[in-house]
């Protein structure tokens, strides 16, 4: 079986494997590695989070904690997407002090689709277009005042966006 070239340097994979081992090692060490991941995510490309295959792991790497569903987060996505290669998704929220917004597509090979850094003075509304491999939930995570809020919606995909 051929492995797809994801374009990430091999060194990153090693670091990732290392991070996984550390996560298993114990609670104290876990919180240490999470703190590093969170600090990193704030000012540079969160490469490790983008490589994750599991929704929870991606969110943990990105934020170091879990999100709670909130009706203050409004996720706008089509119920049926005829073309999974281009699915318009947007989010808006009435939450204040928003610092980031992340889009997660759990059925995709890499679950984290996009992560937006929202500096003070920028509105917590984002619209973009994502690929979806098949029918899937889409989760948006809004980081506001240091807490995580989420909204989820299912998108039925008629033709997948991964080709092949």
């Amino acid at each position: 079986m051929t492995t797809p070239d994801n374009g990430f340097p091999a060194r990153r994979r090693l670091i990732l494997k290392g991070a996984g081992t550390v996560a298993l090692a114990g609670l104290g060490i876990v919180s240490f590695s999470r703190a590093n991941a969170v600090a990193a995510a704030n000012d540079r490309y969160p490469e490790d989070a983008f490589r994750q295959k599991d929704e929870k792991e991606a969110i943990k790497l990105l934020y170091g904690r879990t999100a709670e569903p909130s009706d203050k987060v409004k996720l706008d996505a089509p119920e049926i997407a005829e073309n999974g290669a281009v699915v318009p998704i947007s989010v808006s929220t009435t939450l204040t002090e928003v610092t980031s917004i992340a889009f997660v597509v759990p059925e995709n090979p890499n679950v984290l689709a996009a992560y937006y850094r929202i500096p003070p003075g920028t509105m917590p509304n984002v619209a973009n277009r994502l690929k979806m491999a098949k029918t899937t939930n889409v989760t948006v995570i809004v980081e506001a005042a240091g807490k995580l809020y989420s909204a989820t919606k299912e998108v039925k995909v008629t033709v997948g966006g991964c080709g092949g």
Partner: protein, 103 residues
């Protein structure tokens, strides 16, 4: 060479709305070509917007962002005629920058 970046930034009241369309293949690395071989991943990783010397929006993207990506956001401030700088870098080190006037 024509710019890969198309931006429309419109000041209205207290905020400026920015719509951006970029020409980029956004290859995920999971798609095979006609010969059955994987097309290597080639995607924009970071897209940033600068206004008045500070970043007003930064998009970190993975492979699930659609080909020729589109993104829309708004920020407080911004006047007609002001500059907005847009730049991106992809996973192969490719990059492009454009400066547009807010309308």
């Amino acid at each position: 060479m024509a710019s890969s970046i198309r931006v429309r930034a419109i000041a209205g009241g207290e905020t400026t709305e920015v719509q951006t369309l970029i020409q980029h293949p956004m290859d995920s690395g999971f798609v095979k070509d006609a010969k059955g071989e994987f097309i290597p991943a080639h995607f924009i990783q970071e897209l940033s917007f600068e206004y008045d010397g500070r970043k007003v929006f930064v998009a970190d993207w993975g492979t699930a962002v659609s080909k020729d990506p589109y993104v829309k956001f708004s920020f407080k401030g911004g006047n007609k005629g002001d500059d907005l700088k847009v730049s991106w870098i992809d996973n192969k080190g490719g990059t492009d920058t454009a400066t547009v006037k807010i309308q």
